[in-house]
């Protein structure tokens, strides 16, 4: 299996990354906080010991779920990494075969008492006609202090390049509430962020400035807030807000999230609804947009997990019929605790199908180092 890891990593060396985020499909079914499974207070990235155990418990043939199957490393160092790629058919009005190298990244976290230094880096799509070195970058790097370093609760303070905590953080970046709703792919910024996480509730606040060098997707400066309150053992509601001001536009995001786990049928439902207000600096045009997404997940046994999702995005509320909806179906197969196969499909309807429609069928492989 180590040979497979090296081969996959080598193939990905010619690719570009798209970051893997968290799998909130697991939240509330056994653990309530992201920190139960991840080092970061808002999930994603390197797994904790409990996260590795969960990966092993979820997989068909788990094997050793630790980094590189238990490779020896110092006790003060945690390591991780992700390699992803997808291929299939897309339809944007015209059907075409497509292949997407998505991600080739490694992550490291060195910790000492309550302090830790995190860095995630790898490859991204190179700039056309630019230096090959442009393809190498660090998507995240930050210093973190946590009040209770041996626990998954408490206060976390981070400073550095990171994604401000805001709304649901699903692995699929094409989810409308992420793509259009203030948490786009490569939306990392330089931020000072504080998170207070407990089993009962969590609050995250970030103040940020955009990255003027790496030219990420977020071009504005501002702040983000997210708060989530757990209702009993299997439900939670959340509220979110974000403001970003750039040379082009002032954008304000507000919304709510909801999470409900139904132990009987073992179904987790996640939902998010957002209102987005844009004010273009040049011209003064004002636009209000709406984004929503709901996802239901159910483990099928044998390492399979089925997601069914539905999304809505109104591009401009001033214009009748200027919206799109999507229906998603994703079948994950966690073959081992390191290898995930994913069949992801989307039917996208513009103006409820009265005009164009689109979609995709993609097979994806994800290898976690």
């Amino acid at each position: 299996m180590r040979v497979l890891a090296i081969v996959v990593a080598a193939l990905a060396a010619v690719s570009c990354p798209r970051p893997a985020a968290a799998y909130p499909q697991y939240q509330l079914s056994s653990d309530k906080t992201c920190t139960s499974c991840h080092l970061a207070p808002d999930g994603g990235g390197i797994l904790t010991e409990n996260g590795v155990n969960t990966a092993e418990a979820t997989a068909w043939h788990p094997g050793d779920g630790n980094f590189m199957y238990g490779m020896a490393k110092p006790s003060w160092l945690e390591l991780g990494g992700d390699v992803r790629g997808a291929a299939g058919y897309v339809n944007s009005g015209v059907s075409a075969a497509a292949g997407y190298p998505m991600q080739a990244e490694v992550a490291a976290s060195a910790h000492w008492n309550g302090f830790s230094l995190h860095a995630t880096g790898g490859l991204r799509r190179p700039q056309e006609d630019g230096s090959a070195l442009h393809a190498l970058w660090s998507r995240e790097h930050y210093l973190m202090w946590q009040s209770r370093p041996d626990d998954h609760e408490g206060l976390y303070v981070r400073v550095g390049r990171l994604m401000p905590t805001f709304g649901l953080r699903l692995a699929e970046h094409v989810v409308y509430t992420q793509r259009y709703g203030g948490e786009p792919l490569y939306g990392e910024v330089y931020a000072l962020a504080a998170s207070y996480v407990t089993e009962a509730f969590e609050v995250h606040a970030s103040g940020f400035v955009h990255d003027p060098i790496a030219s990420a997707q977020e071009h504005g400066d501002g702040g983000a807030l997210y708060a989530e309150l757990r209702l009993g053992d299997h439900a939670a509601i959340g509220a979110e807000a974000k403001y970003a001001a750039s040379d082009d536009a002032h954008r304000t995001y507000g919304g709510m999230t909801g999470k409900l786990y139904l132990p009987g049928p073992a179904v987790l439902v996640l939902a998010e609804a957002e209102v987005i207000h844009e004010s273009f600096v040049p011209g003064g045009d004002r636009v209000t947009q709406l984004a929503g997404y709901a996802l239901a997940s159910h483990p099928l046994g044998g390492g399979f997990l089925l997601d069914l999702g539905a999304g809505h995005f109104t591009e401009d509320t001033r214009v009748q019929g200027l919206f799109r909806d999507c229906l998603d179906a994703n079948l994950h197969w966690f073959q081992t605790s390191h290898v995930e196969w994913l069949l992801t499909t989307r039917l996208e309807l513009l103006d409820l199908g009265s005009h164009q429609s689109g979609g995709y069928v993609l097979a994806q492989i994800h290898y976690r180092l």
Binding site: S215, A216, M256, L260, F280, E315, H355
Partner: protein
């Protein structure tokens, strides 16, 4: 949660029925920031980060530079932008999700009005 889902559905249906026929101003700001930036200016595509094919649409300044060469004011083919937005072949853009007819019509109206603002 059921109530929240119903509320969201009602919200979407009501808003789908609201609004008026497209009255947006056909300006470079609307074309660049409302239409092209979210659809074409994604970071892995035509952004200032990757600059695929020499075009970037993720900021207004970058979009103006790209549009000058795409709609004629920079010496390019006046219709090349519309051609890729409406192509029935493998040149179709964006390749991952369809662009709304209303958006294409607004881009066309802006170009036919002389692509003001570049």
């Amino acid at each position: 949660m059921a109530a929240m889902s119903c509320l969201a559905l009602v919200f979407a249906i009501v808003l789908a029925a609201c609004g008026t026929p497209d009255s947006r101003p056909a300006t470079v700001e609307v074309v660049a920031l409302e239409i092209l930036a979210p659809s074409c200016g994604q970071v892995q595509c035509h952004s200032t980060t990757t600059n695929q094919s020499g075009y970037a649409f993720d900021t207004l300044a970058a979009a103006k530079v790209s549009l000058r060469s795409l709609v004629g004011t920079g010496g390019g083919d006046r219709h090349s932008l519309l051609e890729v937005l409406t192509s029935t072949g493998d040149k179709r853009m964006p390749p991952d999700a369809p662009l709304d007819d209303d958006d294409i019509a607004l881009v066309e109206a802006w170009i036919h009005a002389g692509a003001q603002g570049l």
